[in-house]
């Protein structure tokens, strides 16, 4: 029988959800859904976003059943740029050009394949502007989260086992 030591104990995986401007309603619901799905896979999650995006998530989960660490988006960029923090998975919420810029920045800093969750009215146009390596999960979801939730359900097992 193999002895369980600290060396062969698998390190807990971590993911960060980088939220964009919360002007598209599906963002907060999908973020909480994704946190739940990742937690079921044993992945520790952190939320990074601006004040409005963070507050929406925190108010939606007052007892913190799902939400763990929450941090400012600039602090997140600073910490990964200065190699103070590292995450196994970076999920970037994108519905505008700024979201694409954040995803490109995270990809360039970490060298990892980021997961781009692309939604909103112009999701195809936005997805077409992405020329850097990333895993795209895209759907026309503005008020109804189901199209993006369904795409996430299809892609998440692959993403978590392959990235």
């Amino acid at each position: 029988m193999q002895k369980m030591t600290s060396e062969n104990k698998e390190k807990e995986k971590s993911a960060v959800l980088v939220l964009g401007c919360p002007q598209v309603p599906v963002q907060t619901g999908i973020a909480l859904y994704l946190i739940s799905a990742l937690r079921k896979k044993g992945i520790k999650t952190t939320i990074a976003g601006n004040r409005a995006a963070r507050t929406l998530v925190e108010v939606s989960d007052p007892e913190r059943h799902y939400v763990g660490e929450v941090m400012d988006i600039d602090r997140y960029i600073g910490e990964i740029a200065e190699k103070k923090r590292d995450f196994d998975y970076h999920f970037i919420f994108i519905h505008n050009d700024a979201g694409v810029s954040y995803a490109a920045t995270v990809q360039a800093i970490t060298g990892k394949t980021v997961v781009a969750l692309i939604y909103g009215e112009h999701f195809q146009e936005i997805a077409g502007t992405i020329g850097f390596p990333c895993e795209k999960i895209a759907a026309k979801a503005v008020h109804n989260p189901m199209p993006l939730k369904n795409k996430l359900d299809e892609a998440l097992p692959w993403v978590v086992s392959n990235l």
Binding site: N50, D74, I77, D97, V100, S101
Partner: protein, 95 residues
């Protein structure tokens, strides 16, 4: 915008794409440098799709600045020390 908001700045382009910012700097600045995302400018890590160009006109620095809710701005700020620091730490691509 943190400390950048407290600077005396001028907005050249509003809600611009990174390609537009890059083209503006390439076509109007006699001197510019290319930096990677995460490069520090006015103590903030720059966000963007690489290559990110920063232009100069003497002590004036022209650079893109992204905010999640407002998109990307191309800004112009005069600062002798910061211009010298960027010139020193970035790889120059002078025209």
């Amino acid at each position: 915008m943190g400390c950048i908001e407290s600077l005396k700045y001028e907005i050249i382009l509003r809600d611009a794409s990174f390609t537009e910012c890059r083209e503006y700097i390439r076509s109007t600045c006699k001197e510019y440098v290319g930096v990677d995302p995460g490069f520090k400018i006015f103590d903030k890590h720059i966000i963007g799709v690489p290559p990110i160009f920063i232009g100069f006109d003497g002590d004036v620095i022209i650079f893109p600045f992204t905010k999640p809710c407002y998109g990307t701005f191309l800004m112009r700020v005069e600062d002798h020390d910061e211009a010298a620091r960027i010139r020193q730490s970035a790889v120059q691509s002078k025209k």
